[in-house]
Structure formats: structure tokens, C-alpha cells
């Protein structure tokens, strides 16, 4: 068993992927993916539904055999050394992979025993992790009665039992409300603080920015960009203005006015009714100024104006010239709607 150092800097690569291919019939879920995750870092894999993110995680966690290419985790080959590899990874799937009929404590105890901990150690580890993920109170209740956030936390706790060197998080916050999402983010950050290497897939730029230090953008089974978060943000260049009128009645007139400016940002102007604001993508400071001028000209009072990161759609548009292959909500918590002008 040899470790493969890919970074000339000398930093050890915890996950190495070379030319990975996986077909499902005609569909190329992965079409020659290369990827390196350095030890102790968090790699975000950003892409829309169907980009191949989950397939990648399933291959790396030995649930799926690749058709071509190779991949190693901490030096273990996913195909030839699955048993050793399984000992050093933790996996949290897209849908919470806990046994809903078992109480939370029993879920953790079971995993502990399956990881060859003694009864005593398995009990201790279950207590310890319930405590750490603030689930001690709920430990005796079946996991099926947990809220979405509690279930994800239990799921994260379960993947931490074996003190994994590498943790795979497949869309850890999909379907969670904003508060719960922040909770999960905090937990993930704490784990990273413990020195775990993380590969996380997400559809949200915001999540990637919160958690990852490096980013790989995938689309239709191919890597279309990779690098540091800041580097990519600079490359994308766009920002999104979130403008909130003091009186919600001005929301639609404002949106119509801004749409009429003819600013060709990275995406369309949208109204976020839930948070009472209009989102305008802008590319330059001139465009930003033009937006402010237009608002002033209409005499609309604003309660706030903030800049946000570009959405997945905007990132894609600037990197590839087309929208993310499967249209979807680009911000997890927003109910956005296109402005009908």
C-alpha cells in the first residue's frame, strides 16, 4: 500500500481521483473526473442535480464500482482495498441514513459494534456523541420521531463513531430550514476543527463558501472548474444585490423597474416574496450604481441593500455559458419567482 502524493507542495492527498468514469446505460454519470482533496481540508463539490455528485461519493465510499479510472482514499484503492478503506471513512448520505425504528442511542451503539468496538467502548462512544450533537435528551426515542435537523445530527454522529480520517457528506443540508442548516454547518465546522478531511457535495454556493476551502464545480459528469473558493468567486465575478423596500407594496413595481434597466447580469431579476426583497445580479460597479440610481429616481424607500454571492445558476452561467443542466431553486431557503413583466 503506497500513499500517493499528488501535490508537489508535499501536502498529502487524502482523496485522489483520476479519470473516473461511471455509466448508467446511456447516461454518463461520471465522465472522466479528476479530483484531489488535501489532508485536513474541506473540498466542496458543487453542481446541480444529476451532475454526478452522488455517484462520485458512492464510488469513493465503495457502494458502487467505477467503470474506468481509479480512486484512492488515504492511499486505499476503492476497488482493490474496499475493506481497509471502509475503516477510515465516514458517510452521511443525501437522505439521513439512520434506522428510524431504532432509538438514537441504539443507532450509535449498533454502528459502534459493527466497527468492532467493545460493548463498553460502543456504549461510551454513543453517550459521548449524543452529548456532543445535543441529542442526549432524545437518545431513547426512535429516530423516526426526530425532526429533520435532529436526524441529520444523528447521521453525522453515526459517521463520526469510527473517528474517520475522511468524511463524505452528500448534500448534508438539502431539505433543511435555514436555522437547522446553520446548526448542521456548525457541527461540520467543529468536525473539521478536529482535523477530519471532508468531501462535501452541495448545490449551494453559500454552503460551499461556508464550509469548503476548495471547490470543484461539476456538470454532467465533468469537472468544469476547480480551485480555491476566493479564486473561483473572482473568476465568476458576479454579485447579487438583495434590495428590500421598506414597504412590501413596492416590491413588484421595483422589480419591474429594475428589470426595465436592461442590466444583463448573470441571471434574471427575481422577487423573493418570503423575505420581501428583489434580487438583481450585477457584474460591475457601474451596474450597481445604475440600480441605486433607478431606485432613487422612483422615490422608493429601502430598508436594506446587501450584496450576496452568486447562485449556482449564476456560477454556471459565467463558467459554462449555460444554466445548470437541471433548473432548480438556487438558494435553499428562498421561494423565488421569476418576475412576470
Amino acid at each position: 500500500m503506497t500513499r500517493i502524493d499528488t501535490k508537489p507542495s508535499g501536502a498529502t492527498s487524502a482523496v485522489t481521483v483520476r479519470g473516473l468514469v461511471k455509466h448508467y446505460g446511456e447516461t454518463r454519470a461520471l465522465d472522466g473526473v479528476d479530483l484531489d482533496v488535501r489532508e485536513g481540508t474541506v473540498m466542496g463539490v458543487l453542481g446541480p442535480n444529476g451532475a454526478g455528485k452522488t455517484t462520485l461519493v458512492r464510488i469513493l465510499s465503495t457502494l458502487l464500482a467505477p467503470d474506468a479510472g481509479r480512486a484512492t482514499v488515504v492511499g486505499y484503492d476503492v476497488v482493490r482495498q474496499p475493506r481497509q478503506l471502509r475503516r477510515v471513512i465516514g458517510l452521511t448520505g443525501q437522505y439521513a441514513s439512520v434506522d428510524e425504528k431504532l432509538p438514537g442511542w441504539e443507532n450509535l451503539y449498533l454502528i459502534g459494534r459493527l466497527l468492532d468496538l467493545s460493548r463498553k467502548d460502543a456504549r461510551g462512544r454513543a453517550d459521548e456523541l449524543l452529548e456532543r450533537f445535543s441529542l442526549t435528551e432524545a437518545g431513547k426515542r426512535p429516530a423516526g420521531t426526530y425532526s429533520g435537523g435532529m436526524r441529520r445530527r444523528l447521521d453525522l454522529a453515526a459517521s463520526m463513531i469510527g473517528r474517520p480520517a475522511v468524511l463524505f457528506l452528500d448534500e448534508p443540508t438539502t431539505g433543511l430550514d435555514p436555522r437547522t442548516r446553520n446548526e448542521v454547518w456548525d457541527e461540520v465546522k467543529a468536525m473539521v476543527g478536529d482535523g477530519v478531511t471532508v468531501l462535501l457535495t452541495t448545490q449551494y454556493m453559500e454552503e460551499a463558501e461556508q464550509l469548503a476551502s476548495e471547490l470543484t464545480v461539476v456538470d454532467r459528469g465533468k469537472v468544469i472548474a476547480n480551485g480555491g473558493i476566493e479564486e473561483l468567486k473572482a473568476k465568476v465575478g458576479g454579485r447579487t444585490l438583495r434590495i428590500r423596500p421598506a414597504d412590501p407594496i413596492h416590491l413588484r413595481p421595483l422589480a419591474r423597474a429594475l428589470d426595465g434597466l436592461g442590466i444583463t447580469g448573470l441571471a434574471a431579476t427575481v422577487v423573493d416574496t418570503e423575505r420581501g426583497s428583489v434580487l438583481v445580479p450585477v457584474l460591475s460597479d457601474e451596474q450597481l450604481t445604475a440600480v441605486v440610481a433607478a431606485v432613487t429616481a422612483r422615490g422608493i424607500t429601502l430598508s436594506s441593500l446587501t450584496t450576496e454571492l452568486p447562485s449556482l445558476d449564476e456560477v454556471f452561467l459565467s463558467l459554462t455559458g449555460h444554466r445548470a443542466s437541471a433548473p432548480q431553486d438556487t438558494v435553499p431557503t428562498d421561494t423565488r419567482e421569476e418576475v412576470a413583466v
Binding site: G93, E100, I111, R113
Partner: protein
């Protein structure tokens, strides 16, 4: 470039595991022992631990949801009462007695059906379980390939033994005469052996088919003719020749005959050998398939 275990390896492993696979829960450690041997990198003790932990999981399910025991408890009650009081009088006459004669005839037959009934449930239950996220977690852990399936079978065999006890209690209440206790235990043992073989068949369906409903439908289609084209409910003497030939090698019929011989007297050998041959054959064929499918599911 595939280091997926080749089908041959899987087959070999399972063939080695076969002799002990088909025995009662008491010998479950032997099951994992056989696999531990073939799967040398996971030591035997770990195999026992994994299977034990997963058995605990399945037992906790029952504690969490006691209604899941209803089938094991109610099925023998309802079937015994139904057959004894509905057909007992008329079939009993042809047996040269009455309802009492039919009780002696049908109870060993019902015992033979226990394994079949439990096995059907294994398929549908495991299909639902298999499609849940927790299976991904199990499959990403460094545990023996068969642990999850072995544990399921052990717990189902325990359920089946409960059903057998209930059956015998109801049987005695409606007038069954236990003349030969060792024979009764031998019959239960044989039913368990065949039951575990059928469970491998249904586990294979459970991991292969898309939905629990289709597993159930498939099971019904296969088992219905086996169940009624047999000596379980009525003697085969009055059946047409071709059907008699069928019942001769129908495992359920053979199991019923052997159980009858063991419990109330009569020929045992033919039924015993046919049942054992089916049990070994089905396990040797289906256990490797089930384990392979379980491991390689996309």
C-alpha cells in the same frame, strides 16, 4: 479493473457456508464461522459481533413495533381453527375417522407451512429495509458480506419458532394428541431447515425486485400451487396421477409428509430426503446470489 468479488468466489464462500446455513438458530455461530473462514480478513469474532449486533437491531424492531409479531401469532391460530372446523368433518371421514382424525392429519401439514409463511414476510420486509438509507451505511462499513442477511434470517427463524409453539398450543386445544415428543422436535427442526432455505429465496427476491408489492405478488404466485398441490391439507391418494407425481417432489408436500411421519407415525424417509435435498439445493443456489446482490446494489 474490477476487484469486485467474482461470482466464483462468492459461490465458493457460500458453498462452504451451506451445511451450517440450513440449521436452527442455535447453531447460528457456525454460519458466521463458515464465512469467517472464507472471508479471512475479517476474523470470526468480528463476524459474531457484527451478526450479533444486527440481530439485536432486528429484535429491537420487534420491541418497538410489537404488532409485527401478529402474523407469527395469529396465522397458526386462524389456520388451525379454519381447517379443522371447516374441512375437518368431511376430509376426516375420508380418512376413516372424523374431525379428530383430521386434526392429527392437518397439524403436521400446518407446521410445514410455517416456514413458508415467515419466508414470504422476509422478502417484503427486507425489500423495504434494503431500500432505506441505513443499508448504505451498513454497506459502507467494514463488516462481513453476509452479516446483515444472516442476522435477518436468525431473527425470522426465532419468529418462526414462536409461531410453531403457538401452533402446537392451539393444536392441543382442538384435540391434537402429541404422542411422540422427540418426533415433534425433529419435525420442528426440519421445518426450520426448510424455512431458512426458503428465506434465502425470498431475500434474493427482496434485494432484486424494485418494490415490496412485487415481491409479495411473486411469492404468492410461486407458493400458491406448491401449498395446495401438496399433502398439507388433504391426502394425495384421490388426486389425478400427474398431480400426485408433482406432490411427490413438492418440497412442501415432502416436508408435510415427513413431519406427519415424525409426529404421528408413518413413513418418514422419502419426505425427509426430498426436503433436505431441496433445502441444501435452494440455499447453495440462492444464498450466494442474495449476498452478491446485497453487496453490489447500485
Amino acid at each position: 479493473m474490477s476487484a469486485r468479488p467474482s461470482p466464483t468466489t462468492t459461490l465458493n464462500e457460500a458453498l462452504r457456508a451451506t451445511p451450517s446455513d440450513t440449521i436452527t438458530p442455535a447453531t447460528a455461530p457456525a454460519v458466521t464461522a463458515a464465512v469467517g473462514d472464507a472471508d479471512s480478513r475479517i476474523p470470526l469474532r468480528s463476524h459474531l459481533r457484527h451478526t450479533g449486533a444486527l440481530i439485536r437491531r432486528n429484535l429491537l424492531w420487534i420491541r418497538q413495533d410489537p404488532e409485527s409479531m401478529f402474523d407469527a401469532i395469529l396465522f397458526p391460530v386462524i389456520f388451525t381453527l379454519l381447517f379443522v372446523y371447516v374441512f375437518g368433518g368431511s376430509i376426516g371421514q375420508s380418512l376413516g375417522g372424523g374431525q379428530e382424525a383430521y386434526v392429527q392429519y392437518v397439524v403436521p401439514g400446518l407446521l410445514a407451512m410455517m416456514g413458508m409463511n415467515m419466508a414470504q414476510g422476509v422478502g417484503t420486509g427486507f425489500n423495504t429495509d434494503f431500500n432505506s438509507g441505513v443499508m448504505d451505511r451498513f454497506r459502507s462499513l467494514p463488516i462481513g458480506r453476509g452479516s446483515v442477511l444472516f442476522a435477518k434470517i436468525v431473527v425470522e427463524l426465532m419468529r418462526m419458532l414462536v409461531a410453531c409453539v403457538v401452533l402446537m398450543i392451539v393444536a392441543v386445544l382442538v384435540g391434537f394428541d402429541i404422542t411422540h415428543w422427540p418426533g415433534l422436535f425433529a419435525a420442528v427442526g426440519l421445518a426450520t431447515v426448510f424455512g431458512s432455505a426458503l428465506m434465502w429465496v425470498f431475500l434474493t427476491l427482496g434485494v432484486t425486485m424494485k418494490s415490496a408489492q412485487s415481491v409479495q405478488a411473486m411469492g404468492f404466485l410461486v407458493l400458491m400451487p406448491l401449498q395446495f398441490g401438496s399433502s398439507i391439507f388433504a391426502p394425495t391418494a384421490s388426486m389425478p396421477g400427474w398431480l400426485q407425481n408433482f406432490t411427490e417432489y413438492n418440497p412442501l408436500s415432502s416436508l408435510a409428509d415427513a413431519a406427519r411421519g415424525l409426529m404421528v407415525g408413518g413413513p418418514v424417509a422419502h419426505g425427509l430426503w426430498v426436503t433436505l435435498a431441496w433445502s441444501v439445493g435452494l440455499t447453495a443456489l440462492m444464498a450466494p446470489v442474495a449476498i452478491h446482490k446485497f453487496r453490489t446494489k447500485a
